[in-house]
């Protein structure tokens, strides 16, 4: 599904990702953890080329997205992304947020897209908010709309960048529940998160990053309970 080979990413002279090589299989749920500034977001954003790739290859379903000849807009339709701060379109209703991309990109008829949007909103428990504007929603609701919006393009992979860290603690649960459902349905997911509970329960694998390197990858049990890496242990001792 996703292959990353010798990925390097620099901002100016500052190398933020160093030599990352890994593979993520279809239907796998990967959680990425690591201290602030370790490059988790940058890694995720390289997977749909929201950040230009400095060096190395990223293959999605066999297509090298680092290649400038690749039609990145086509690839991105297969790669949904959910942001920490939701990034809903404030000038559009919830339904229009979800409908926009399929309508403009897939040339589907309005009726068709409309129905699918409503289904998706039902799935995230917000069918009744279809005509509301984002500003009237709580953070948790916003994030669930953002997930529905990303799903509207029928992506093969979903990327989540700290989807719950901007939420009030009581609103986190609803969002995680939606993500759990998604994982159970077999969606391939890469999730940057500090929610260890989620990682343990849903994650197939955990990546631990530090200073732009992939320090360790393994099952949640391997990483959380039996790590042999000093840096991982130090990090976990602080956040658990």
């Amino acid at each position: 599904m996703i292959k990353v080979k010798d990925l390097h990413k620099s901002f100016g002279k500052n190398e933020v990702l160093t030599d990352i090589t890994t593979e993520i299989d279809a239907q796998e749920v990967v959680c990425v953890i690591g201290p602030s500034g370790s490059g988790k977001s940058t890694f995720l954003r390289c997977l749909n080329r929201l950040e230009d790739i400095t060096l190395g290859e990223v293959l999605i379903d066999g297509v090298n997205i680092a290649d400038p000849k690749t039609d990145i807009n086509a690839i991105r339709q297969d790669v949904g992304m959910v942001f920490q701060h939701f990034n809903l379109f404030p000038h559009k209703t919830v339904r229009d947020n979800v409908m926009l991309a399929p309508h403009k990109l897939k040339g589907e008829s309005t009726r068709e897209v409309r129905d699918r949007s409503l289904n998706l909103l039902e799935k995230v428990g917000l069918a009744d908010k279809a005509d509301a504007y984002p500003s009237s929603l709580s953070g948790g609701q916003k994030q669930r709309v953002a997930i529905a919006r990303a799903l509207a393009m029928n992506p093969k992979v979903m990327l989540f960048d700290e989807p719950t860290s901007a939420l009030d603690p009581e609103l986190v649960g609803d969002v995680l529940a939606v993500m759990k459902d998604l994982a159970n349905e077999g969606m391939t997911m890469v999730v940057v998160t500090h929610e260890m509970g989620f990682a343990k329960e849903v994650g197939d694998r955990v990546f631990f990053m530090d200073e732009g390197r992939m320090v360790e990858e393994g099952t949640p049990t391997q990483v959380f309970d039996d790590t042999t890496h000093e840096r991982t242990r130090e990090f976990l001792s602080k956040i658990l």
């Binding site: 790669v79 701060h85 990109l105």
Partner: protein
């Protein structure tokens, strides 16, 4: 102290004529300025070095020189060299359009840039291309951000038309000067001129503040 109260009444019809010109020049000038501003504002956002530089030069030169110098250069300087001339009213529209255009270009640029970067990323990551993202996501939000500074520029341009009195355009200020030069009732005349400007600018800025607040809430 020798106030002549009848001057206040007598000057009014003159000023009303002037006000009409002031409004027409401002409205048409700023409308053309909007077109110029949108074009040059988007040019300034371009990644193409040349396009960007051209737009920057226009904006910086206009913003770096006094409007009065621009008026004289356009109305007297250019005809003197190229041996053609135009009506003062044409200069009036042109100079207000050119001048407000440069300031509006900055407003357009600022508006687009102040849309949260996450919006662009959200659009692009859905698979929309740059143009689609601009059109459906960035631009509608940017326009909303631009409304208050646009209103502000309108008020500034309205006041700026007063400088056109120097080239005998019969706007509000010019009409006042004419009346004052006939009657020497300078105090009464210029007081009324100020009142006439305030009659437009104060309601306009109240409306503007109201709009601003409404936009803030939504």
């Amino acid at each position: 102290m020798n106030l002549s109260p009848e001057a206040f009444v007598e000057v009014t019809p003159y000023l009303l004529t002037g006000l009409w010109y002031t409004l027409i020049i401002t409205i048409i000038g700023v409308l053309i300025g909007c077109v110029i501003g949108t074009i040059f504002g988007i040019m300034r956002l371009s990644t193409n070095w040349f396009i960007k530089t051209v737009a920057s030069i226009y904006v910086e030169v206009v913003r770096g020189t006094p409007l009065l110098a621009q008026i004289f250069f356009i109305h007297f300087g250019i005809p003197a060299l190229f041996n053609f001339n135009f009506d003062a009213l044409i200069t009036a529209f042109g100079v207000i359009a050119l001048n407000s255009g440069a300031y509006l270009a900055e407003i357009v640029r600022g508006g687009v840039q102040s849309v949260d970067k996450g919006q662009l990323e959200a659009g692009r990551s859905l698979g929309l291309n740059g143009r689609q993202t601009m059109r459906h996501i960035i631009w509608p939000q940017a326009v909303k951000i631009m409304i208050p500074p646009f209103g502000n520029q309108f008020i500034i341009s309205l006041k700026d038309t007063s400088l056109l009195s120097a080239i005998a355009v019969t706007e509000l200020m010019y009409q006042g000067q004419t009346y004052a030069s006939i009657t020497f009732a300078s105090f009464e005349t210029y007081l009324m001129v100020c009142v006439f400007y305030l009659l437009i600018t104060i309601p306009a800025s109240i409306l503007l503040r109201f709009t601003e607040r409404r936009l803030d809430h939504s």
